[in-house]
Structure formats: C-alpha cells, structure tokens
C-alpha cells in the first residue's frame, strides 16, 4: 500500500473501515486490482463485524455418540498397549502405532465437536472421554513405575513427607521442590489413607486433575465465548499444546498447578460476572484456590497473577461494570499477595532457582539472534534424528497453528467487540477501547506467547521456558483457533466434510505437539540408552538401588550418574551428591582417568560414602545431553567415559568393592573420604 493511501486512511478516521476500503479503492481509480487485494486481505483477516450466526441452535440431548467414542477410545488404547509392548521387543512399527492410537482417540471427538448441532452434554462427555483416553496412554507408556526425571524428584519429596510426617524436608535433587508441596500433600494423603503406593496414588490424583482441568477449561471458554460449540472446540485445540498429553500428566507440580490455575480463573470469571450479595464468600473460595496454587507451583501462581492484573486493567480501560471491577481488583490483589506471601514464608527459594534459568534463556536467545547457537532441530543430543514423517507432522502442526492465529486474531478481537477489529474506525480515544469482552481480548493477546515459545524452544537454555510458556499461550491459541474454525469454515454448516476437516486439523496439531514434546522416544525402547530417563530406568537399576537400602541401610552418601542418582534417592532412600547442593561435582572423581589429590579432596569435601559406577555409561553419548548434572564431570567428557576410568578404584587400597551385577559396581570409599 502506498504512503498516499495510508495518509488518506488516517484522515478518514471517523468512518467505517469497510467504507475506508471502498474510499481507498475509489481513490485508486483504475487501480482496482490493488483494492481487491486490500479487501480480500481484510476479509481474510476477519476485520469485520462478527457473524453471530455460528452460534448453533440447541440440539436435543443425546449420549449415543459418546458411547461409541468411549468404546473407540478403548480400542485405540489396546492398540497403544500393543505398540508399547512392541517397542519393548524392538518392533519398528511401534512408535507409529502409538501415534496412530492417539489420532484414533482424537479424530471422532474432533469430528463431533466441530458439528454445529451437537448438544452441550455430548460435547462435555466427548471432551472428558478424550482427556481420559489420552491419560490412559500415559499409564500405558509407563505402567509399572515413574519414568520421567522430574517425577523422581517429586517422589523423593513425597517419600520424605510420608517418612517424617512433615512438609519442607530437604531434597538435594530438587531444593525448591519441598517449598511447593501441594502435589505431594494430596498424593501422600491418598497414599496414607488407602495404603496404596505413591505411584498408584499419583496416577489416581493425576487422572482426577486431568478431568478437573479439562472441565474447568471448558467452563472458562464457555463463560467467555458464550457458546458450547466454541468452548468445546477451544478445548480441543488447547489439547494440541505440546505439554498437554504427557508433560502435564507427569508426577510433577505443573500437572496439578494447571488444574488449580484453571479453577482460580473460573472462579475469577464468576467474580467478574457476580451480581448481588455474597461476593466475599466467592472471593474467599478464590483465595483458597490461589493459596493452594501458591503452595503447588511458583511460576503458575505468578502467571495467574499476571493474567488477572491484565484482566482487571482491560476491564477498567474498557469501562466495564463498577461491581465487576471491584471484584476483579480484589481478586488481582489476592493473586499477587498470596503467592508473594507464600514465597516469603518458605524463604524465597524461587529467586535462586528461576534466576539462572531466565538468564540462560535470555543469553541463548541473544546468541540465536546472532546465529551463533541454537538447538539442532529434530536432532537429539546423541545425534539421533527424528524420522521424516515426524518432522513433517511437527512443521505442519506449527504451520496450521500460525495460519489459524492469522485467520482468527482479528476475528477474536471482533468477537470481543473491539471497534477497530470490527472495521469501525473510532471517533474518540475512549471508543478505541470500547470492547465488551475483556477476557477474550486478554486471551487473544496471550497468543503472542506462542511464537515466543517457539523461538525459545529453538535454544538450549530457553527450551525449558518455551515449554512452560506453551500451556498459558495455548489458552489464547485455543479460543482464537476455535473462532477461526467456526467462522472461516462456515460455522452453521452441517457438512460432515467440513467437520472432518476441522477434526483432521486438530488432530495434526495434537500429534505434532506430542511429537515436538516426546519425539521418537515416546515409548520405552527395547534397548537401554545412556542418560535417557525413560529408556534408562529399568528393573536391573531399580534392583541395585533396592539392594543398597536392604544391605547398606538408608541415608548413605552416594555419588552416581544422573539416572542412578534418581533410583538411589527414591528406591534406595540414599543421600545423593549434586553439584547444586555441594558446589562440587563428585562425578568428576568417577570419570577422571587417574585418582589424585584433587579427586581425594572432592571426595572429602563432599563426604562420599559410596560410588555407584554404571559401566553402561561407556556405551554411548547421553541422550539428554549430560551423564551427571552438566557440571565439571560432563565438561570433562567429549566421548563416553572409559571403562578403566570408572573401574580405577579396583586397584586402590582401602576401597571395598561391595556389589557387582556385571553392569554396575558399588565401591565403598569411606576410607578415602574420611567418613570411617
């Protein structure tokens, strides 16, 4: 567009933007081609009054489809179980079979939700079936024990609570964890009352948390979008968030924090819409929800505070109802004060924990901008490259989300009543901000977090933050894509092909999200892999850790690699050495080719009793990028450690070799470290 036309557009403020387009086209005179492009662009972006005809009529209540969808999900879970077992015996089709099972669960749900003449109860039932079906895949993937690294960190905290009967016991693997014990409190309550293991109790709680999250999310969307169809589609697209299917079902504090976040947000929306007496009671329940969230996860609690401040500001700017503003102001103050107060109560551990994470992320992003670093896309730290179909699916998923955001961004703003997005040029400054639906404006703005999360995920240091931004950014992505789907694809149409198209798009987004999170390592493989969490945790390592508890007793001080450290801490109930705790990396002693005064000094400073040497470390590069915790020992290694380095203690006086299973050896080094 030329500068002249831009100037005319600015001069014409006060008229209808569609009229502007016409004026601009007229002014262009014979340049009708340019005007058509401009008009097409505006139409494509949805800068026009929102078409409410997509709000479907009420359909008769029926649960026939959910029955079929539930049975279909059960059959798909059988395929998933067969795939998981096939992976353990090295069948090539296993991974693709598992991904197909995800698609089989999801496709019919998407299809039904995309149709306009489906009743609210069926939509809710279908969403809950999809949530439970996908949760079943998490159980099928790891049916015997925890396999995620972070799960072991929280398990240690849970065991400490059960054993000591107190919160806040130290956890050297995860120093900040005990300060946020919400997840562990509920799991240990179930375990204490039922006698079930922490693993079983965690699965029970996580399944309930999943239903709670999806249910609350649906109600939030329904409350702000005013339509069961839009709300259910928004939930459907939210499930495409890379953390939804597996990461947020791990035994990790985010998995409970997100449902509590949704609960607090839902109560907050009730506060906004509250008319009449009883507001203090509602705010009390809100405070309770925020307190439990603050006790569960720091970042999620602060994210809620930021969101509620944003909502209050938008409501104030738009001149919303005074009663609503008062309620929102009180809620925003509570959302800031309670997490801050809790953080102060537990000694502000978040600063030391989160500070370096943000610093590293910022540093890596700056380097990425200068093209001097970055993660190699679709390539693991051990050099393994994702198959072509997975790369294609991930890129298609990102592409479809971006396309949906482009198509839905202005449509969502128009839906929220923002004048400029409705094609109405504002007459006064106050009318610029004259929207009617602040929550939708806020969620639409949240979608800017999606490209940011993608950029952060391209860096090594920022990957973690990018991963954490995803669940919040997708709150906006869900509703924007839902509005895009219901408007661009002729919402009132009952065409099964259109519904199938929306369902296919949602499924590609979901599967692409899961691939970007789990990739080719979604299942436990047939063969052990070095430092690969799920592919490294297996019965022999568990048996060795259990042996230490039985024959050496608990709370000996062990040095071990990343994976065995987790097993020793949980199954073995040993104290393990970490660089974070001691400032020294005991792994350095294990991988050093020679044992000299420096190594003796480390052993003595850290106070090591036993070294757990796993000879399998010598067989490959670490899949997650580190054999130990990324400190000195890992910096010493450019190739797998040598067996003779790990076994150098065989020839040293005063060292006992107390355990040998052919793969792992335990050395008693108390004579060297001065612990005896």
């Amino acid at each position: 567009m030329s500068d002249g036309i831009m100037l005319r557009n600015r001069q014409a403020i006060g008229g209808d933007l569609n009229g502007l387009v016409g004026t601009a086209a007229h002014d262009l005179g014979q340049r009708g081609h340019g005007s058509r492009i401009w008009r097409t662009l505006l139409r494509l972006l949805g800068i026009a009054p929102f078409d409410r005809s997509v709000d479907q009529p009420t359909a008769p209540s029926s649960l026939a489809w959910p029955q079929a969808i539930a049975v279909n999900a059960g059959v798909a879970s059988l395929l998933a179980a067969a795939s998981a077992n096939a992976s353990r015996i090295g069948q090539d089709w296993a991974t693709i079979g598992f991904y197909i099972s995800i698609a089989i669960i999801f496709l019919p749900v998407g299809f039904r939700l995309a149709l306009p003449d489906v009743c609210r109860s069926e939509r809710i039932a279908n969403l809950l079936i999809a949530a439970l079906g996908l949760f079943a895949l998490r159980v099928i993937r790891a049916p015997l024990f925890f396999v995620g690294h972070d799960e072991y960190l929280h398990w240690t905290t849970a065991q400490n609570i059960i054993e000591t009967g107190h919160l806040f016991s130290s956890n050297v693997l995860f120093p900040i964890g005990p300060a946020y014990p919400g997840l562990e409190v509920v799991v240990t309550a179930i375990a204490e009352l039922s006698g079930a293991s922490v693993f079983v109790s965690a699965l029970v709680l996580l399944s309930i948390a999943r239903l709670l999250f999806v249910g609350a999310l649906y109600l939030i969307y329904e409350r702000i979008a005013g339509s069961a169809r839009r709300a259910s589609l928004a939930c459907l697209f939210y499930m495409g968030c890379s953390t939804f299917v597996f990461f947020d079902t791990n035994f990790s504090y985010e998995s409970l924090a997100m449902p509590l976040f949704a609960l607090a947000l839902l109560i907050n929306l009730r506060v906004r819409d509250w008319r009449g007496t009883g507001l203090p009671r509602l705010l009390t329940t809100f405070a309770l929800a925020v307190l439990s969230l603050s006790m569960t996860h720091h970042v999620t609690a602060y994210a809620l505070a930021a969101l509620l401040i944003g909502l209050f500001l938008l409501e104030t700017i738009s001149g919303g109802a005074a009663a609503a503003r008062v309620g929102l102001a009180v809620a925003a103050v509570l959302a800031i004060a309670i997490p801050t107060g809790w953080s102060h109560f537990v000694g502000n551990p978040g600063e030391a924990y989160l500070g370096p994470v943000f610093e590293n992320a910022l540093y890596d992003v700056v380097r990425l901008v200068h093209f001097s670093t970055g993660r190699k896309l679709f390539t693991g730290d051990d050099g393994a490259v994702a198959p072509l179909w997975q790369r294609s699916m991930t890129l298609a998923s990102v592409g479809l989300i971006c396309l949906g955001l482009v198509l839905g961004f202005f449509r969502s703003l128009s839906f929220a009543g923002a004048p400029f997005a409705r094609g109405i040029a504002p007459k006064t400054w106050s009318s610029v901000f004259g929207w009617t639906n602040s929550p939708v404006i806020l969620l639409t703005m949240l979608t800017f977090g999606y490209p940011i999360s993608i950029v952060l995920r391209l860096t090594r240091g920022g990957w973690e933050i990018g991963n954490r931004i995803g669940p919040f950014a997708f709150l906006g992505v869900g509703i924007v894509l839902s509005i895009a789907a219901t408007t661009c694809l002729k919402g009132e149409s009952k065409s099964v092909w259109r519904a199938a198209c929306i369902s296919a798009i949602a499924t590609i987004i979901l599967v692409g999200g899961v691939i970007s999170s789990e990739g080719p390592r979604i299942l436990v493989p047939a063969r052990y892999q070095v430092s690969a969490d799920a592919a490294s945790i297996e019965p022999m390592g568990v048996a060795a850790a259990l042996w230490t508890k039985q024959w050496l007793g608990a709370e000996n001080h062990f040095a071990a690699d990343r994976v065995n450290r987790l097993l020793l801490s949980t199954y073995g109930r040993q104290l393990v050495s970490t660089t974070l705790q001691h400032g020294y990396d005991a792994g350095e002693v294990m991988v050093a080719e020679k044992f000299g005064p420096k190594e003796v000094a480390v052993l003595q400073k850290v106070g090591i009793d036993y070294l757990f040497t796993d000879l399998r470390l010598t067989t490959g590069l670490p899949v997650v990028g580190a054999y130990f915790d990324g400190a000195t020992a890992d910096q010493m290694l450019f190739a797998p450690p040598k067996p003779e380095s790990l076994l150098k203690f065989n020839t040293m006086d005063g060292v006992n070799r107390v355990f040998d299973n052919g793969y792992a050896v335990i050395f008693d080094v108390r004579a060297l470290s001065g612990r005896k």
Partner: protein
C-alpha cells in the same frame, strides 16, 4: 419423611463404610474407591454450596467442588503439618471431621429438594445401553493397561547375577554377609569361593538358584585372619566355569574393624 429417611440411611451407610475402610484392613483398591470421593469431592461440595448458595447439581458445580476439594486438601495438609499430625491418623481424623460437617449440613439443609439433589450419574446408571457401553469401554481401558503392565513387567533387557559382600551389622559383628541373586531369567548353577589373601578360605561348589532366587551366607571371620589384607568373593557361572563371573571384596581395614 421418606426423603429424610433415605438421607439418614445414606449418611449412616457412608459413616459405616468410611469407618470400616479406615479401621479395618480393607483391600487397597476398595479403600481408594471409598476415599477419593470423601477426600476429593465432599469437602468441595460443602464449600461451594455455601459460597455459591447453589442447590442444584450441575457440571460447573461438580468441577468447582472437585477443584475446591483439591485446594482444601492442600491447605489441610499445611494445617496437619503445623499440628504434627501429617500422617494416616491425622488424615483419617480430618476426613472424619469433614464427613461430620458435610452430613450435618446435608441433613439440616432446608432448601434442598430431592429432585435438585439427584446426581446425573444415578440417572446414567439407569440407562442400560449407556451402562453397557461404559462397561465395555472401561473393560477395554483396563485390558489395555493390563496388557501394557504385562509387557513392561516381562521386559527384561538385562539378564544378570548380583554378588555382594558386606560386613554384617548387629550383635554378631564378627561376620560378613555374602550373597548371590539370580536374575538370569533362567535357573543357573554357580560356584562361589571366598579367598583370604588370595587363598581359598571357603568354597560352595555348584549350587543352583532358580530365577529371582537369592542365596546368602553369614561368614564368621576367625580371629586369626581378622587382620588379613584382603577378603574376596568370586562367583563362577557353571556355563563358563573358567571365567570369574562376578567379584567383590573387602579390604584389610574393613575386616580389621570388625
């Protein structure tokens, strides 16, 4: 009157089930089925009913009740921690108190009509076709999890034998413990010898262990060898009798300290 009788009977049954579940050795799955609604639904129902003044049960009420129950449980954990009662007894007492409050509120609620109290799951249970489909789906899910469990349980990449030697603890401290555990996924024949300063002190020729079987011996250390340099255990697999299969040892200091 009939509705009140049903209410009282339901309350009595709930208290009875909870009491039996808490105080008697009930199977874990059954305990979970009883405890989950008491811990993760009931407290929230009481709070949300009070906060929203809502009488009718709907989806939003249910979700808010579950969410508030989770939130209350977390806060309750903090309270129990402060009272030094964060254990099964403390949780049991807390659940009992919550149950008492819930029953009291329910029994004496004036505004609750029977129709409004009726939960949709009861209606759902009355639909035979729906119940059958739900049953089939649940069976399929349970079957798939059982299948995955079976596959994971039988996935043994490593066939191995453990050998260990540690100083015995307790009253009889003049002994060391030697142990072997067979996880070769088959019955295996072993030879085990214990050497003191590289001389055979004791030997257990050809003993057989079934898979997952463990063998341990307490080995008294005679006073005469207590100051020896080195006590070593060597395990031989009879399939490769000439090769030391596993070895462990205790050095002089360890033995001398006994």
């Amino acid at each position: 009157v009939a509705a009140n009788s049903i209410k009282r009977a339901a309350c009595a049954a709930t208290v009875l089930v909870w009491g039996l579940c808490w105080l008697t050795p009930t199977p874990e799955p059954l305990k979970i089925v009883v405890i989950i609604p008491l811990l993760l639904l009931l407290p929230g129902l009481v709070v949300i009913r009070g906060a929203l003044r809502k009488k009718a049960m709907n989806f939003e009420f249910l979700i808010l009740a579950i969410g508030m129950s989770v939130a209350l449980t977390i806060v309750l954990g903090l309270v129990l921690h402060g009272l030094n009662a964060l254990n099964s007894g403390g949780w049991g007492a807390a659940i009992s108190a919550l149950l008492a409050v819930a029953i009291w509120r329910w029994l004496f609620a004036k505004d609750a009509s029977r129709k409004e109290e009726r939960l949709s799951p009861f209606a759902v249970a009355g639909n035979r076709r729906l119940a059958a489909c739900s049953g089939v789906a649940a069976a399929l899910f349970a079957g798939s999890i059982a299948l995955a469990h079976y596959g994971a349980d039988n996935h043994r990449q490593f066939a191995y034998s453990e050998l260990w030697m540690v100083p015995s603890e307790g009253a009889d401290s003049n002994t060391i413990s030697v142990g072997v555990r067979n996880d070769e996924q088959k019955a295996t024949n072993y030879d085990l010898e214990v050497l003191v300063d590289n001389k055979v002190f004791v030997r257990w020729p050809e003993f057989r262990l079934e898979n997952d079987e463990q063998w341990t011996r307490e080995l008294p250390i005679p006073l005469a060898i207590r100051h020896s340099r080195h006590v070593e255990a060597r395990l031989y697999n009879r399939d490769q009798p000439l090769r030391i299969y596993r070895r462990v040892w205790l050095s002089r200091d360890e033995v001398a300290s006994q």
